[in-house]
Symmetry: C3
């Protein structure tokens, strides 16, 4: 038995009966004394920890759910008839999991505390009940909303606007003019609003910098990971739509327009002036070329490169060949033939010689 | 009409007449009262903002320039005869744009202000008129030039030299011994001079660290984006030549030598001891293998990998196949045939069988 | 002659005689007065610096070692008979180099100094003789071991444990609950323990965040570069085994398990729940897909992508095709034929037409 580090800190304990009351419309299966079952940890199906609850989101996890050593397994109601162990039946396992995790790991709430070593320009404002950590600076005319938590070491330039309920991790940087909506989340060492990368070469090797005077505009409910960069626009703004989630180590260049509800996974790069329309999902380690458009709902498989605007929304894969994922699977299945292309060419030549045709 | 965030802050307004005077050798076209035309914003051709100036660098933007709702469009003189709208004719649009942007968005100048919460070692020096932000530390024997702006949270180690007129963004880190020329620019959370990644494995899985005692030497007029890393050399220095521009999220390993006037776009990685000669242009999301040399003037298309030193300077593309961009375009055009290679092989086999040749 | 920046700072000078005494079991070759030879710099074979020592790890450098302008060249004993110049013969050149570099560039040792502008929670502890830099914060219940050097600007959350002898560079961030063993090294702007990237989409485009309540557990003797991210686990911990070395700009997603003695070079991304078993070596700019396993000892060539768990440990290469490096070399050799696949197909069609077979 190994208890994950963070779970050792859990102080809240609920009985199964109590959990049933907390999760609306839930039911208990195969348990006669749910008020005697204490749940102290939330674990994956393969872990072995006493007094624990695990979960199976759908039937693909049915076998693991049956075999799990968790004290209780939370499953969708429709799987109930197939289980003969203690279960908590719920309408939607993922949403119920979110509720349960919030019980055991209650979020930190701000307390309106501004620490000691903080520099807030006299023209800046901080909303009620927001926490500002040490070694933070907030520049001229910037506005931080209410109920925010700004962690230690964050640097906020001039004319920055951040909405209510933000959670900003340590050492993030927001350059002048960045505008962010409500409920913004970001983690450590992320940089928003640095200059776009644009130079003009008049004389060979002499690159004149074009001033970057656009900014970055971010909607509501956006989450950004750690060590991600989003550059300011050249003249217009770089835009991140509401509900979009961006992972770690992502590079988003100047003038990019990302729509609503988009997913961008880790280590992806999106080049200048690309447009990623609403609801696109870009997996990790992808590259999107400059000035192209991903139609609404387009998906990129992990490690994909896209150089041209695709004709329509689909799942694309492969490095820079605009293949759909299905085509890419055919590509992969044929790679073994590529390794023998020299022999294939030789066989064709042999045939041609025998037939007295061709020349090459 | 949407005014970009940052442009809402513009306080300077010039009439078209005044702009003409500011831009040397410029002319006004199709405008009888240029002193009545106020320019308050600088926009792209597709934006619709009153009292605005836009620009078209060359004839490829001619149609957009004609249709633009900008009050004035700045164009090269040779396009004048094709326009029947209000224009500002200039010798070089890009250089004129740089001048105009500087009028509307004047650069911040340092004022020789050293903030309160700053640690400057007694053996370090800061040149005249340089600004040092809060939460900055400057180590022993380090020298910062004059007219620099060192933003909040920057950490400068021992024996670091930074020339005049530097602009260093928040939370950047410079390890001991880094040497940088004049007019250096970098943005947020960039790290210069961390140890190179070199270990020796004597016994399986036991990696002995080789001390990294080279440093990083950066020339004049270098710009570096956000969240980029440049490692110190092992024994000798990692070198970045004068006039080179490096984007965000770039990884430059130990002992790399980058020449003068080189461009390295975002999310690119350059492995240890690679040499990138003068005037190379490396697009975004590229990978350059260790110990190879890119001859002067070599270009890499976006998302390219290069494992071997190419025979000569050219434009290369593709992931690790040393193709020129032209060859890569042929590769891409033939990908559809790869998907059917199994059928191609089958057709050859059928032919061979019919002819009674071959065996496989 | 160019002396590398950092080497100009060397204050310790040893004679060749003294070096011989310092390096156990070493011998001097072709030198009558080794106490007259002063060594002031440690250089590569191609540099030209007076009073210098260089080294050749094995016979592949024999020619360069013979031609080197270094005053003394350190070589393995078995190469002695082939040399007619001043040499220092040693059992293992790399290990001897580590010893010599430590003589010329002595490591900084902590002095138990806690700087002035530091926030250490009253429930946190710092071990004896550890240095804590300025602008550092250490949260509730966190424990820092003894003899550590925590550089300026590091942010350590609550319930973080860091073992003895750590060397942590400026502006690194450690989120709540991170646990790290002894002799940890990391450089600048690295972020450990940010939330994993997991959302559930119930309604189109509305991404519900799944709380990430696992943490990060790191073993002993781990080194991590600059601007690298390691996310906390979802429920269980993200784990980095002892002796593992991770370079700059690496992204390690939630729930990843990395074994012991693993190498992960720069700009690589490892997706969620991937398993990298002991002694794997992942080169730079690689991508490892989520939920796959790299068997113990697997190697990935630079710029490789791996989407599926390989059948066995081997050296893999290519972007996402699960080729061994040998197969990948065949692939590369055949790329030229891919460029002509359209002609190959045409030749087959011509043959078929001549033979009156096929149709397509």
């Amino acid at each position: 038995m190994t208890i994950p580090t963070f779970q050792k800190l859990i102080r809240n304990v609920y009985t199964l009966s109590e959990l049933k009351l907390k999760i609306s419309n839930s039911e208990i299966l195969h348990c006669t004394q749910p008020d005697q079952i204490k749940i102290e940890r939330i674990i994956t199906l393969h872990q072995d920890v006493p007094n624990s609850l695990s979960y199976a989101s759908d039937k693909s996890y049915l076998k693991s759910a049956k075999e799990s050593k968790a004290t209780v397994v939370m499953i969708p109601k429709e799987l109930g008839p197939q289980m003969d162990r203690v279960c908590l039946l719920v309408d939607n396992v993922d949403l119920a999991l979110i509720e349960i995790l919030a019980l055991y790991f209650p979020e930190k709430h701000p307390q309106g505390k501004i620490q000691k070593w903080v520099v807030i320009d006299s023209s800046a404002s901080v909303g009620s009940n927001s926490d500002i950590g040490n070694f933070v600076s907030i520049g001229a005319n910037s506005k931080i909303g209410k109920n925010c938590i700004i962690a230690d070491g964050v640097k906020i330039g001039d004319n920055v606007t951040i909405g209510d309920d933000a959670r900003i991790g340590p050492n993030c940087v927001f350059f002048d003019g960045t505008t962010i909506g409500n409920r913004f989340i970001c983690f450590g060492n992320t940089t928003i609003g640095g200059d776009g990368f644009r130079f003009v070469e008049i004389q060979k090797g002499v690159h004149h910098k074009i001033p970057q005077v656009g900014s970055v505009t971010i909607g509501d409910d956006v989450e950004i990971g750690s060590n991600t960069c989003i550059d300011r626009g050249g003249l217009d703004d770089t835009v991140i739509g509401s509900g979009t989630k961006i992972d770690n180590d992502v590079q988003i260049a100047h003038n990019v327009k990302i729509g609503k509800g988009v997913i961008v996974a880790g280590a992806t790069a999106i080049a200048g002036s690309a447009v990623v329309e609403d609801y696109c999902k870009i997996s990790g380690a992808c590259a999107v070329a400059d000035h192209i458009t991903l139609p609404s709902g387009t998906m990129l498989a992990g490690g994909s490169g896209l150089r041209n605007t695709p004709e329509k929304a689909d799942v694309y894969a492969g490095w820079d060949w605009n293949l759909t994922f299905r085509e890419f699977q055919k590509f992969r299945a044929n790679v073994k033939h590529i390794l023998n292309l020299n022999m294939i060419v030789k066989r064709i030549k042999d045939i041609e010689q025998k037939m007295g045709i061709g020349g090459n």
